[in-house]
Amino acid sequence: MTSSTISPEAAVAVPTLGTERASRIPKVLRPWLKPKIIAGGSIVALLVVMGLLAPAISPFDPNKQNLLSAMQAPQWLAGPHVLGTDHVGRDILSRIFYGARISLVIAVTVVVISGAVGVGLGAISGYFAGKIDFMIQKLVEVIWAFPPLLLAIAIMAFFGQGLGILIVALVAQRWIPYCRVARGQALSLRTRDFVDAARSLGARDGRIIVKHILPNLMQAAMVIGTFAMATAIISEASLSFLGLGVPPHIPTWGGMLADGRAYISTAWWLALFPGLCIFFTVLGINLLGDGMRDIFDPRLKRSGQGMG
């Protein structure tokens, strides 16, 4: 945009790829070629590969205990235990690969379910307004009154460990941000001409919501969803760290950190590596979310924080 010789689309891609190569890339993809999105996307892609291929790339069984080789320091490229072993001789690298799986499963499930529930209820709340809106918003207000994570901690405390209950516990509060934004947008959409037009053609409320309201809520939901992945991963790790996550026989980064905390003065590698994984995963997702927000709508940032 600053130079008159290149098109606006190409200008966007210049900093990362140069004009020559940018011209070979389909137009729709060009806005996505930003350093933030590429860096964040690569980290997330790495996580997905690690999780999917865990059984194939793990050098050891993640749960295989071997007290004879317990507490071995990282051997890097030299030894069998690249990142060392923990207090019962389990291979850290293998546990990290398997831990990526659980982070991935939790993040995707929690985000998809809470997104569906939140956007759905938000659309209904905003579209119908009136009594239904009042009731849904009361529910939102009550659930949002709990400090983040506390409701999940309470649910896990009363119902015990398990993958299913963990997902329920995390979704219990995480659908709210979607609901708030979706409701706000639905409230303004319901008065728009295309909704009136659909109604005058005899479309029923259900059809209007599905065909005309929901598609317009998707962009905002995608941005919230991206950041929500990061929240879900940190929340899962926090709960596992507190011993309130999945059962202990499933390797998780949070659980590994909890083990590592006890041995921090003698074996730093127990806590360092799983923590680095959580940090970089969350960093990658946040970068991706920042980038997506810049593309879709810079103003979303405000509404996404749930201020209203």
Partner: protein, 335 residues
């Protein structure tokens, strides 16, 4: 203003009642009978029936809820299964430690984030802006429990500079006055105690405050950037006001509203973050109490702590709303 406050109070009461209902339902839905849990394995069916009658567990659910609600409103949150002490007293004893930790964390976050955010927002794309963005991203991506463990590893393990757990070295703090050790030390002129308290609180407060610092830095930056383009800023410049004065008097003052809002909003995250950070640093606050109550399946203590935290959060949000309205006269009360 008064009408606004009254309306907000009236709006909060049903929320509080619904919160108590939700927590009560959670306990009801939990698998397992509290009577079985409390009595020994040798208890006969008769003993169980007896105990159920004594604790009111044989009453209809709504009667139980009504009892729970009226008792809670009178400050009776029940008795701990494990310690046989009143839950409220136990929480009250632990609360100052948690509040002290939270306050120091907020101070650290604000002192670093606000100046950095203002600078970064005033000079977009400069080196300070890049540094700020990095700090912001680091803050929001860092899991507080891992950061805490790494601080312990470096500061206590390798450098041996700071103590890794607890609130004080035994015997230094003396008898508590307010329960806030730092404040107590200042009141008593116990400088050795103050130093000791600061050394203990430094790492947990940094670990807890980093997340808020990241968010605050990002919000300060963007709100300063927004205000920089306002007409009154151009006017001030045109009048010949120095750039520094424009920034700190005209820009920062107007950017303050979103900053205060974010501090308020993030207090909830700080509260739940403290539960985890207290566990990492064996900080004797109410968060640690909650986790130990969960470990020992002390249901009244769990319920009491969850209710207390949530009430605290409701009150904080309420206060922030009022403050928010007070800071910004543009917000209309008579909507």
């Amino acid at each position: 203003m008064l009408a606004y406050v009254i309306r907000r109070v009236a709006g909060t009461i049903p929320v509080i009642i619904l919160i108590s209902l939700l927590v009560f339902m959670l306990v009801q839905a939990a698998p397992g009978d509290p009577a079985d849990l409390l009595l020994s394995d040798e208890a006969t069916a008769e003993d169980v029936a007896d105990a159920r009658a004594r604790w009111g567990l044989d009453q209809p659910v709504w009667v139980q809820y009504w009892k729970f609600l009226t008792a809670a409103l009178q400050g009776d949150l029940g008795t701990s299964f494990r310690y046989a002490d009143p839950v409220l007293t136990m929480i009250a004893e632990r609360l100052p430690a948690t509040i002290e930790l939270a306050v120091v964390s907020i101070i650290i976050a604000v002192v670093i984030a606000v100046p950095l955010g203002v600078w970064a927002g005033a000079r977009p794309n400069s080196w300070i802006d890049n540094l700020g963005s990095l700090v912001g991203l680091f803050g929001i991506s860092m899991p507080n429990f891992w950061f805490g463990i790494m601080l312990i590893l470096v500061m206590s393990g390798i450098l041996n500079l700071l103590p890794s757990s607890g609130r004080d070295t035994y015997g230094i703090a003396g008898d508590p006055i307010t329960g806030f050790y730092l404040l107590d030390s200042v009141i008593k002129g116990n400088w050795r105690g103050l130093w000791d308290g600061l050394a203990h609180i430094a790492m947990p407060a940094i670990a807890l405050g980093t997340n808020m610092m990241g968010i605050l830095m990002r919000v300060t930056r963007s709100s300063v950037m927004e205000v920089m383009h306002e007409e009154y800023v151009t006017t001030a410049r045109a009048k010949g006001v120095s750039e520094r004065a424009v920034l700190w008097h005209h820009v920062v003052r107007n950017a303050l509203v979103p900053i205060v809002t974010v501090v308020g909003l993030e207090l909830g995250t700080l509260l739940s973050g403290s539960i985890i950070v207290e566990t990492v640093f064996s900080w004797p606050g109410s968060g640690q109490l909650l986790i130990s109550a969960i470990t020992s399946r002390d249901y009244p203590l769990i319920t009491g702590t969850v209710l207390t935290y949530t009430m605290a959060f409701v009150i904080i949000n309420f206060t922030v709303d009022i403050l928010y309205a007070a800071i910004d006269p543009r917000i209309r009360f008579d909507k």
